[in-house]
Symmetry: C3
Amino acid sequence: MSAQAPAPTLAELAERFGLELRGDGATRIRGVATLAGAGEGQLSFLANPRYRRDLAGTAAAAVVLSEGDAADCPVPCLVARSPYVAFAKIAALFESSPAPVPGIHPSAVVAADAVVHPSAEIGPLAVVGARCQVGAGAVIGPGCILGEGNVVGPGCQLLARVTLVTRVRLGARVRIHPGAVLGAEGFGLAMDAGRWIKVPQLGGVVVGDDCEIGANTTIDRGALEDTVLEEDVRLDNQIQVGHNVRIGAHTAMAGCVAVAGSARIGRYCLVGGGVGITGHLEVCDKVTITAMSLVTASITEPGEYSSGMAVQDSRSWRRNAARFRQLDQLARRMGPQPKD
Amino acid sequence: MSAQAPAPTLAELAERFGLELRGDGATRIRGVATLAGAGEGQLSFLANPRYRRDLAGTAAAAVVLSEGDAADCPVPCLVARSPYVAFAKIAALFESSPAPVPGIHPSAVVAADAVVHPSAEIGPLAVVGARCQVGAGAVIGPGCILGEGNVVGPGCQLLARVTLVTRVRLGARVRIHPGAVLGAEGFGLAMDAGRWIKVPQLGGVVVGDDCEIGANTTIDRGALEDTVLEEDVRLDNQIQVGHNVRIGAHTAMAGCVAVAGSARIGRYCLVGGGVGITGHLEVCDKVTITAMSLVTASITEPGEYSSGMAVQDSRSWRRNAARFRQLDQLARRMGPQPKD
Amino acid sequence: MSAQAPAPTLAELAERFGLELRGDGATRIRGVATLAGAGEGQLSFLANPRYRRDLAGTAAAAVVLSEGDAADCPVPCLVARSPYVAFAKIAALFESSPAPVPGIHPSAVVAADAVVHPSAEIGPLAVVGARCQVGAGAVIGPGCILGEGNVVGPGCQLLARVTLVTRVRLGARVRIHPGAVLGAEGFGLAMDAGRWIKVPQLGGVVVGDDCEIGANTTIDRGALEDTVLEEDVRLDNQIQVGHNVRIGAHTAMAGCVAVAGSARIGRYCLVGGGVGITGHLEVCDKVTITAMSLVTASITEPGEYSSGMAVQDSRSWRRNAARFRQLDQLARRMGPQPKD
């Protein structure tokens, strides 16, 4: 939102985003905040029921919420089928992202045969290696390093200190956060006469349009074929994706997930933080896996899966864990298991 | 310790650090080492009982230890209530850290409107973005990247290749190790008509005085409010802290911990390596969580909590794990559980 | 393989690598590919039985496989005792790695007293600090940062954006991927009157010949002695190795493993992804640990160990996990456990 434009009224927001206004629509909205933290001129939202307790006392100018919560709202509100989506769209009005500054910073090192679109921005102390291509409006932020032969699509944003090692092809509007490393060699080793030898990693990494890749996340290049992220895949921070993995469109993974080589993950999956997925297996579409679970075999039915065990006080835990170590014996003493 | 100062005698160390000397205090101490590795002129310590076996045979010039171990010490010793603390303070005498070299390295790129204190050091190939402030005596090491609008307090040390993305405010004497990324966008997404849309991340990161942040650790900025580390928080390497998390003063976390968005962790907590803490919950003060445990609900009582299962030989493990998968059935066959 | 050399025939490959040729040896091999993806002029391999289903339909020019699979191969083949090893060696012929370009890039910042071998390459925007040594033929890639007093052996490859903090000594031919941080301070803290104080980390990191270290992996320097990787240790991405750890020769660790301080791991161990190993313990030689297991006590017998629990559908999982929390009670109801 430009600094000159007057702050929108609640009625204008309702109209613009197709929401139902309840209460006075004349209030100008100058920013967004939490229910508990919002004050004059600030819009808030209620999407997660955990925060319903904050609704009655909110000092927000207005709240985006669902039909069911509207009656309890002490201030004007915008009723949305999905309050979180509506809020995200409104909040974007109050985000100021610097526009790309076309051109190559004098401190950047760009190979003679790299092709950089005139509308792209190459930031300070960035390196763009031989045979790279950088598309229209793309931003290669400060300290990014592109090795040989990488392709950055139009509108991509490599925020800072991103490394594309080699043979990485990014679609349009891919957003990559600092410290991410794409296209490093996969972990391919073979034991030969008591020593490891390396298995050449001849593939690349293909990232579809609108993907997002978190800080310090690593995506290895394929051994023979490519490692692939289909469109609109969203990876949080510190995720490890092994060589030849394929992740289906619209799948999202929370922080610290590890996906081993050649696993194939479906579309619209939701993978919780710290989940491990072993290699050479398939997870079908629309699978949710809760935090710190381990997947060791293919999943063929959509649904939710878990194996992350929650804490107990350590004393109880130790007693139970000790019994677990004898669980098979314990079960045998109970005689044969009846058929289900 | 300056190169000119003579090595301190054991008696001088006893006096300086308030320790009880037993044995000859005239020995000069020129360095520190482990019980098993120490030799002439070297001071060692005994704090962890696992290493008591090394005491009898030590060739150290002297040992820092507790009252209870003193009788078994074959060499002069310094008796301390906390041998580890006393040793840490003495060892610091033998650490040579380069002093900051005030000024901006000619290869660094510093925005015209950044404010850098004359006593601060900006290292080679560092980037300091628009509207940043760098306080007195602070060190921005080689390859660090500060995006727009970050504040680095007096005496901070960003060792090398640290990234502050935006809206990060560091207190005094914060120490950050290479590869750490603070202030990246939190992982805020909403599903809208089959595609993800981003929820703007408008908050920042506030880090209190004397915090330490390990190599390749990531701390996302808040969505609406700030992600906060209170004073003296100590984070090891490869930790992931989601948006809007708050970590209480003096809490320490070992490597590879993941804390999901909006979790609130208390003061004086100790979090073991690889622990996962899910979002939107609270952990009270003085909670210890052992390695690789998963916290999925608020913890309201101080104490120690666990859920990390320890290895067995794989054959036994597989048998027990198979029974676990039928545990509910097994328990049902035993009839109703008596009340506690 | 130089661009001028003609593609080798299958017969030439058989001779060169000591493999048994079955079928027409005159075919020229111009590249390598998977069984399912290979076409004219491409060599494939069958090592993992999961891919046996792809053999009958392969359009590869030839396949490297074991004696037992040869009869089912529809095209010429090379029979190998270890098809994966043989394929790795042949595939290396088709890998084009740029040769080092001796010299220091003008944008690099190299300390006056650093010793760089004339045959070594220092890439763009790299930093080589005081008293560093870089050996013959070594490559310090773009954006790498070497702090004070690090030693890089002959033939090492630091691909890009690697950080050696201080007192790191690399043997010959060590290969380090982007984002790795070696020699950061170990996580040594002592609680003194309600605040943390740092325990000086006076040791270094020693890495043996032919080790490989993955992207964003961190290896802390020792507190008093060194953190040590013996020769031919292979670490995947995002591994955390604490201070004073020792890892035996030829041990390989998959992504996201965490090894806590002062653990000693043997030779020829295989550590699965996401495994945690707590501190101050020993794992003997030839131990395999499966994914996401936790090691909390020394392992003294070679063999395979596990504790990573695999997913169930969440509903079953929750029921079983609830019973687990009462497992000790359940077991008590069954009376005393008979002796094994």
